[in-house]
Symmetry: C2
Subunit: 189 residues, 2 copies
Amino acid sequence: MCAAPAKTSDADIVAAARAVIAARGLDALSLQQVAAAVGIKTPSLYKRFDDRAALLAAVQDDVLLELARVLGDAAASGSTPQDGLHAMGRSYRAFAATHARLYPLLFGSSEPSPAARAAIAPVMTALIALLGAPLALPAARTLTAFLHGFVTMELSGNFQMGGSIDDAFDFGLDAVMRGIGAHIMRTVS
Amino acid sequence: MCAAPAKTSDADIVAAARAVIAARGLDALSLQQVAAAVGIKTPSLYKRFDDRAALLAAVQDDVLLELARVLGDAAASGSTPQDGLHAMGRSYRAFAATHARLYPLLFGSSEPSPAARAAIAPVMTALIALLGAPLALPAARTLTAFLHGFVTMELSGNFQMGGSIDDAFDFGLDAVMRGIGAHIMRTVS
DNA sequence: ACCTGAACACCGTTCAAGT
DNA sequence: ACCTGAACACCGTTCAAGT
């Protein structure tokens, strides 16, 4: 029933694709390189992944799961929800810097994935503890929008007016955290 | 000296490329389509633009100049710097929604362009008036990071947890504005 | 069941040749 | 000066054929 033994595996292919993207960027990824890296020919990839987009989605999941672990660790490192959120914000930026060429992949596709849910879960948990359920969702969107926007612009070189980008991030993270907190103060009073 | 009269112009080519991207998206753009739209053959494009990237940069400039005008109008519509900034934030999101498939082009390249400077100029002016020069730069980066991140995630369909995205944007813009203001209050006191 | 060679329709880009 | 035909080196994808 198995005349041709498998030369590789789904996980090997994902790892090879991830390595190519990490080294040369998403645009430079070709299925030929991935196939060659795992020792098969290009058409064989289609036995395991529907198309290029499906392979990229698998790599995206792989990276998102790693991000979820990093953010979970950061959340656990804080003694208060505020501390945890601050640590997650800093870890997020550090993760993006470490995986600069992988990062654009994270927001490429739009289908809801368990990996994406896992990545935002610790943020939601901390915000629910801090602000309560009704405000946690818009607050999470505000925080993730800031983090994603900042990191994207930083990695793309879009901060071109000089000054310290580290300082801008610290300023911005503080401002967003305070803005979120100020809002609950005002609506509660 | 001019044996072959020009069938088209740089501006025509940029307009055609912009129209294709607006209709079908950046990934679907091919130089063949652009050339056909202006009535020439593909290789002729290389007499006017170095390569595909140069053409995209020209389209990016075209869109950025339009954005600069929209933001300038919004800034002028506010009677206070705060009002102007709020209006710019809302106009920015509206601009992105109207030009959804063009928007990803704006943050693609990283070379500093006069058009990009023109687009952020009204934001910087309002923030200098509001916070003073030293804080204006990190505040501008915080605000633009939030706006760009929010709009990117919204357009990519990355807000997948239900709830009103309009409400989240209003909440977030208020929070960021308040966070920026709160910071100056604290450092000034 | 997994892999491959060959083919298809497309890309961006170059360049000698036309007018 | 501007345009074109032909060619080049690449893509992603399909499919019949091998084992």
